[in-house]
Amino acid sequence: MRRSARFSYVLIFMLISQCFLGCNDPLNGDLTSVKPSSVYTVAQLISESRSAKTTDGEHVIAVKGTVHEVNTVNGRHTILLKGDTADETFVICDMNTNQSTTTQAVKSGDSILVKGLLKGILKDVIMLNCVVVKTE
């Protein structure tokens, strides 16, 4: 009886610890206070993502570029940044849900600095949980 009770306590402790760690994962929530590991231009980020220099693990990075488009496809606020590359490759920034008001003020052609979690590249570079750092 005592042994099973001890086992139960350990199990409960493990579950609570795991939940606590999971719920407080800084990369899964608001990145406003997270310092980016690097700051890129759109062209640099596309180039380095293509050569897989930046895709080892997930990093919070910042990227500076010109807004190509702001949309709400799939009900999500998204900013597409364009670079100087000849082909139509963008940086897709899926905005954090707390950024809806900020994102609505952003317009095509704006120069912007966005911070987010770099996920990788398909045709475009994909970043999640993005927050606007600076708009010009």
Partner: protein, 179 residues
Amino acid sequence: MLAVFLIAFIYISDTDTDEKVIARQGKVSFFSHTSVEDIKAENNQVLSVIDLEKHEIAVSMLMNAFIFEKALMREHFNESYIESDIYPKAVFEGDIIDFDPLAKGTQTRMVKGLFTMHGVSKELEIKTKIVQDVNGYVVSGTFETLVQDYAINIPPLLAGNIAKSISIDFRFEYEPYED
């Protein structure tokens, strides 16, 4: 004579399907239901290209870009089940059977092709709704797939939390694409 040229030009312009369309922000979501818990996740940056002339469709997604309700679910999904560091992408390449790119409105077609995820490739045949309106094509559908088909190992302790069959929804909005 000029009229003949004009009519021929208009006809060629109207039937020219020698082009591709692209969806950069396609949505793929999955849902697992068990008596223990429901798990759902969505990926809103799925890439898809349709070759309108060849009736071919390609889909590619980053497995680490799925959004979960809980961080712990995302962690288990990426690290233990899908192993997204080893298999970062899932890819589908197939054909839209009897697809008419010029048909306005809705057409329901079967899409047949090869889906590769977690290093395992499997032939799929998916019933798909295709809508063409003034904004372009919208392709959507739902299908079920078995977890065991993709060599995903689920620890016995968590087996009750994850359904054997997962429901997958997809929706892609396409726009013209010149590669």
